[in-house]
């Protein structure tokens, strides 16, 4: 599923309940949510979505790396990288889908 498919599904789902919410709103809503999540992380603020998961920053200490082409050493400064941990509901639904015969309780 791509971002545009997500927008279309969101518009469809919400349109059923409320005709006011049209495609343009769904498009702006998805953009607003993703922008807020990205800017939150880039300010060092974690994200916690119950039943979905959490996004944190992981620290990477400075290290001496190598340019694979020339073999010369380069210092790589410390940095932070985004990290996602799936929440319980997402974990169970995704794992349960692997064994379709098994009854899965949420």
């Amino acid at each position: 599923m791509t971002k545009s498919e997500l927008i279309a599904r969101l518009a469809e789902r919400l349109g059923e309940r409320n005709s006011q919410l049209v495609f343009k709103d769904a498009e702006l809503a998805v953009k607003t949510i993703l922008d807020a999540m990205a800017s939150s992380l880039s300010q060092g603020q974690r994200i916690e979505i119950r039943g979905f998961g959490s996004f944190d920053l992981n620290y990477r200490p400075p290290r001496v790396g190598r340019n694979p082409k020339s073999g010369s050493s380069v210092s790589v400064p410390e940095k932070y990288v985004p990290h996602f941990k799936a929440g319980k509901e997402l974990r169970e639904r995704v794992d349960g889908a692997l064994i379709p015969d098994e009854e899965v309780q949420y």
């Binding site: 809503a29 639904r93 995704v94 889908a97």
Partner: protein, 98 residues
């Protein structure tokens, strides 16, 4: 200090002009649609943010760290997230001490 569904709903109220009920509903549905796609085995690619992918992991031997007893860790499907270059670039600029 943590971004949650409540803050996201407030943003939709402020910036998209949805009423409180629609905003809450939209945030819930946004994450539910992603869960549904992943549950059905479909990876989710959100350009500019990142990709949620699925990995099937085979059974492997494990151990109860308390008792030392050997118990197999069953085969499972897990979700992994790969941040886009754009998000990685934004986050790299963050320095805890600034």
């Amino acid at each position: 200090m943590t971004l949650t569904k409540a803050e996201l709903a407030d943003l939709l109220f402020d910036r998209v002009g949805l009423n409180k009920r629609e905003a809450k509903d939209t945030v819930e549905t946004f994450f539910e649609e992603i869960r549904t796609a992943l549950e059905s085995g479909d990876a989710v690619k959100l350009s500019g943010f990142g990709n949620f992918q699925l990995r099937d992991k085979p059974q492997r031997p494990g151990r109860n760290p308390k008792t030392g007893e050997e118990i197999p860790i069953t085969a499972r499907r897990v979700v992994t997230f790969h941040a886009s270059q754009k998000l990685k670039g934004m986050v790299e600029q963050f320095h805890a001490n600034d």
